[in-house]
Structures are given as structure tokens and as C-alpha cells.
Assembly symmetry: C3
Homo-oligomer: 115 residues x 3
Amino acid sequence: MPISRLAPGPRLSGVVIHGDTVYLAGHVVADRSLGVKGQTEAILKRIDERLAEAGTDKTRLLSVTIYLADIATFDEMNEAWDAWVDRAAAPARATVGAALASPEYLVEISAIAAR
Amino acid sequence: MPISRLAPGPRLSGVVIHGDTVYLAGHVVADRSLGVKGQTEAILKRIDERLAEAGTDKTRLLSVTIYLADIATFDEMNEAWDAWVDRAAAPARATVGAALASPEYLVEISAIAAR
Amino acid sequence: MPISRLAPGPRLSGVVIHGDTVYLAGHVVADRSLGVKGQTEAILKRIDERLAEAGTDKTRLLSVTIYLADIATFDEMNEAWDAWVDRAAAPARATVGAALASPEYLVEISAIAAR
């Protein structure tokens, strides 16, 4: 079964597609000045774009992993998440606190979707 | 390929099924008074139930990720794990320490299974 | 669809294969005296071996998760990663800081590949 990649880079690809399963890299924000809610909104917007490029959308998310630099921002992250997620098609999700690659990154989100 | 969900909620689904692949959300315990071994046992019991609802069982687990609030509880978690896992059909597994959504949560387990 | 396992153990399997999807456990180093770059190199060498046993290779990696005991070693880990990864076929990747099972483990890497 062929593999295709979107937003490919020498270190990682933003999206790797295998059959009808779509793997999204851990996404962080471009504008590091944003707060937790703003970073989450920006990441989810980017994920919408990536899913569209892959021929799918958020109603076909299978599994999402959310890493928070500070787990105390769980509720603030969820304000953005709850406004974005399709309430009738929510993915499996795990959210944990973990150190992120830059101290300015407050949220990182990876995902697996179907297309 | 259709997607189905078990234990669906507005924020996340407990289980998302895509073809013959079953994605389980990060599961935590309902009774937060339990210790690490007790929380692990309770979560694994819940995972057994979820897998049964999805038409599969622990012998068809593919990959499991275990998050511990305190990595020093690795051995205590494994007491429950080792008593539960099918020794002839153990999944790929990664275990790391990470902050969990409530300070009373000591263990969180997500998984991918086949059915 | 049948499941097969490589490097099976009573607690976890090194590799679980489901159809044409290959799940690799979180891999750590055997020689704990190595630094971050050395541990990463050793783990990636082991992953090459595991993928070969599964009938595939690093050009068919789909998704990789890298856990670093100290996120400040991100660049040092990447020195080994960048020298290893196929720049034309890089997987989706997420890298976070997390406590690992032994204080001597500096890096743990899990992965999903196609075969």
C-alpha cells in the first residue's frame, strides 16, 4: 500500500498517509506569543488545513494526543478544543503534561485520522 | 471505511473504531482514592470492557501507552499489568512519566487494538 | 486480520504487526552509559533491525514519538536523528520531554511503520 506525505521536510513530515489512515505530526504554533487558548486555536486551525489537504476533516479524527507544557492549563486548552471539536464525532483523546521543544510552546497536538 | 464510536462524548470518545483498528482514549480511574496498583487494575478492567464492546479483547492489543504521574511507581504499575496482560500476546508498549489532568490521577492508559 | 509479534516478551512485544501496519514499542538503549546522541544512534540502529525483521525499513515509517528525559537535549538528539532519517521519506514525528523508566535512559522512541 503506497505512502504519501504532505508538508514534507528533511526531519519530519507534517502528514503521512497510508491507505486511508492519516498520521499528523505533533503540531505547534507559528506565533509563539499566543497564550494557551490562542495556541490551541491556531494549532486546530492548522490541523483543519492539514486534514483538508489529506482529503478528510475533523469528523473523521480517530485519535488525538495533546501535550501541555503546564497541565494546569487543561481547562484553558479545552475552551478552544470544545469550541472546535465536532460534538457528534469526537476522537479518542489523551492529554498529558510534558516539556515541549521550545519554552514558548504551550501546546502540541498530534493525531491520527481516517480519510 | 466507516467510523464508529463507543462511549461517545462531546469532548472525546472512549473508543473509535476504523475498519478493524480500535483506538482507545487515555483512560483514567473513576475512584481517585486508589493507589497506583489499584488505579492500574481499575483502568485495565475498564479497558477489558471497552475492548469487549468493540468486539475484541486484550489478546489483540497492538500498542499501549502508559503515562504515570510519578515514574517511580513503574514497578507498582507493572504488578497490575503483569497480572493482567496475556503473556503470549503482549502489545508493543511505551511507559513514560507525565503530568495528568487531575493530581489524583496516578495512571493514564491509551491503546490501539485490532478486532 | 492476523496479528504477529517480533521480540515477544511476557510484559510487552518489541514489534506487533497487524496487516501491513507495524507497531514498535518504546525502545530504549541497552548500554545506559551512552549520552543522548549515542543513545539515539543505538535506538535508531535497533529500530532499523526491528523494521528489517518486520519486512520493512525506515523509508516506510509513518509516525514516530520521541521522549527525552531532558527536553534541553532536543538538538543533540536531532544530530543523530538527522543523520539517520531518510530526508525524502521522513515520518510524522512528535518529540516531548517525559520521565523515563530508568534515570539512565535519556531517550525513548516508539513508532508506527507500514510494510
